[in-house]
């Protein structure tokens, strides 16, 4: 029995290890993807750490009392770099803070010291500029909150409350930056994942469509018919485009519904226009996002068609297309946590060169209102798609469409089959 079991186990292991899909899914993806993701996350956390190394914060002291001075001293002793702002009122203080390129402001209102002296609860206000650039911004405002909390603990029992405010596009908003950050993160995480899933699924569909024509030998029949080969290629692509359009529309409907759900996080009584403040996509943003996703899908489909045309069966096509997935998933992870323009120039170029980064960037731009990024991406991806289509058309016009065969085990050596 043991000998039989050993033989079966040995056969199973050989079969599984030699299956390209297993090789890709269980070995190549974890071995390549996870180290890359680790490196990405490492760079994100380094940036976060750097940003909070020195907490630079403006302080507008309208109290000029003993306790306000003690507060400033305590904050300085805890390592904060305090920039004192002289202003006549809060609005002027906010303006001066922005003019001084500061991102955070602590406002000590008049009567702060008197309230504490009289044993009443005093009030402190903080303002943080919110641009939606990612984790670094949130970490900075959290660092200031931590310093204030540390001071409070030293003055116990709880002498003052802190009212957290955000400044969005120059306008003060009575919402803590953490709420806005959570709002943004829920968009920034769900959007890239959804886009990556749609692209991957569309590529699998297109690859299967071409490879099954080769596997079933229907392509050979099709190529012998009096039809222009470019028409065959376009037919394949338009079929996939319809699927891509359905995918893009389904995505947009789902996304709009999702955004509607998460905006309930922002208190409605604030009475602010979220679109105007850059916290929700505008109608133009939605349109550009849809176009960007569509052209990216088209480009992915064209690439899948070209690549799968080199394979001889569906299994090989799906496995080879799978090698593109890291190119889709790496920008996805990176753009979840970081603003692309905060990266080093070579990394920026790399991310922008990947066509599948652009629908994610367009989704972000739809919220921030920076439509030029989305439009630029659409133009770039369209040019990339035309180039891929040109290569595909050239390839379809030759006999290579029938004779080129890539097997995963022989990636470096395409072979011709003689019958």
């Amino acid at each position: 029995m043991l000998r039989d079991l050993k033989a079966i186990v040995s056969k199973e292991v050989k079969e599984l290890v030699r299956d390209p899909r297993i090789l890709l899914g269980m070995i190549i993806v974890p071995v390549i993807m996870f180290p890359i993701m680790g490196a990405v996350m490492h760079s994100v956390f380094i940036q976060v750490q750097e940003s909070i190394k020195e907490v630079k914060v403006g302080v507008a002291d309208f109290d000029h009392g003993n306790w306000s001075r003690v507060l400033i001293e305590n904050l300085t002793n805890l390592g904060a770099n305090i920039i004192e702002i002289s202003a006549t009122d809060e609005i002027q203080a906010i303006q001066q803070m922005q003019a001084s390129n500061l991102t955070d402001l602590i406002v000590i209102p008049e009567g702060f010291s008197q309230n504490i002296t009289q044993g009443k609860k005093a009030r402190l206000k903080t303002y943080s500029i919110y641009t939606g650039s990612g984790m670094v911004e949130s970490a900075r405002s959290e660092a200031i909150n931590s310093l204030i909390e540390a001071v409070k603990r030293g003055w116990s029992p709880d002498p003052f409350t802190v009212s957290e405010n955000s400044i969005v596009k120059g306008k003060p908003l009575p919402v803590p930056p953490s709420t806005l950050f959570n709002l943004a993160m829920s968009q920034q995480i769900v959007t890239p994942i959804a886009i990556a899933i749609i692209i991957v699924m569309a590529m699998q569909l297109a690859a299967t469509s071409v490879a099954s024509e080769k596997e079933e030998k229907t392509l050979e029949t099709l190529l012998s018919l009096p039809i222009n080969r470019f028409t065959i290629l376009m037919g394949k692509l338009f079929g996939s485009i319809i699927v891509a359009l359905i995918g893009a529309i389904a995505y947009l409907i789902g996304f709009i519904y999702y955004m509607g759900s998460i905006f309930t996080l922002v208190p409605t009584e604030i009475g602010v226009d979220l679109v105007e403040l850059g916290l929700a996509p505008s109608p133009v943003g939605y349109v550009l996002m849809g176009i960007s996703l569509f052209v990216s899908l088209l480009s992915a489909l064209a690439l899948a068609v070209v690549i799968s045309a080199f394979t001889e069966d569906v299994r090989s096509a799906q496995a080879i297309v799978g090698y593109i997935y890291p190119v889709i998933f790496i920008p996805m992870f990176l753009l979840m946590y970081l603003d692309v323009f905060s990266l080093s120039l070579p990394l920026q170029i790399l991310i922008l060169a990947i066509p599948y980064s652009h629908p994610i960037l367009a989704a972000k731009a739809a919220v921030t209102g920076n439509h030029l990024i989305a439009i630029g991406g659409i133009i770039y991806v369209s040019i990339f798609t035309v180039a891929i289509l040109y290569i595909a058309a050239k390839f379809f016009a030759t006999e290579k469409i029938l004779t080129a065969r890539i097997k995963l085990k022989k990636l470096r050596k395409p072979k011709e089959k003689v019958t």
């Binding site: 079933e216 030998k217 229907t218 050979e220 012998s224 009096p226 006999e399 011709e416 019958t419």
Partner: protein, 242 residues
Amino acid sequence: MAAVEVDDLVKVFGSIRALEGLSFRVEDGEIYGLIGPNGAGKTTALRIIATLLLPTSGRVEVFGLNVVEKADEVRKIISYLPEEAGAYKNLSGIEYLRFMASFNAESKDEAEAMVRDAVKISGLGERLHDRIKTYSKGMKRRLLVARALMTKPKLAILDEPTSGLDVVHSFYVRSIIKNYVKEFGVTVLLSSHNMLEVEYLCDKVALIHKGKIVAEGRPEELKTEYKAENLEEVFIKVTSYA
């Protein structure tokens, strides 16, 4: 004018020489068979004639049209049935026939007439309304042969038309080919490694071995010449000399 004229055809794939100066001529209205074992170069030759592959050197003409220079014209007058070809399994047989007819027909009426012919040729009756994925291998092959012949091509190129079929389906497919040629005067160029089938079907045969024709003639002439009882014996004798 010859239906097919192949002159000194060479095809090289990398380091492999698939065809080594192949030459033969198929007359109009003839059923011509290329016979040889697997890997002899039959499919490569048929694919070149069907405009799917380019010759490395040599000349191939179909009804006077060069298959390289006039590929589009050639495709209009031929019909090619690849070996072990499949069909779109999620379409019904009738949908498949309509789809294929649309590329050869000038009008909708002409396409429908082609489909009607194909229905008759295939003999699949009501099963044509079922999805192809439910067909047996034999039924699928009958559908594909019907597809290849429904356009009444000037030249039908059939690669191993009965390969892998049982006796009943093989007999049916052979009958289709024989009767159809008589009825419409279509020229047929087919390949097979079933020598008995070729002997039954073909007016003329060429024995192909390692990319070259080693013998050619009418089956009866070849049997007499090589003092053999059948073409299998002829092939063994010829290749042992070659």
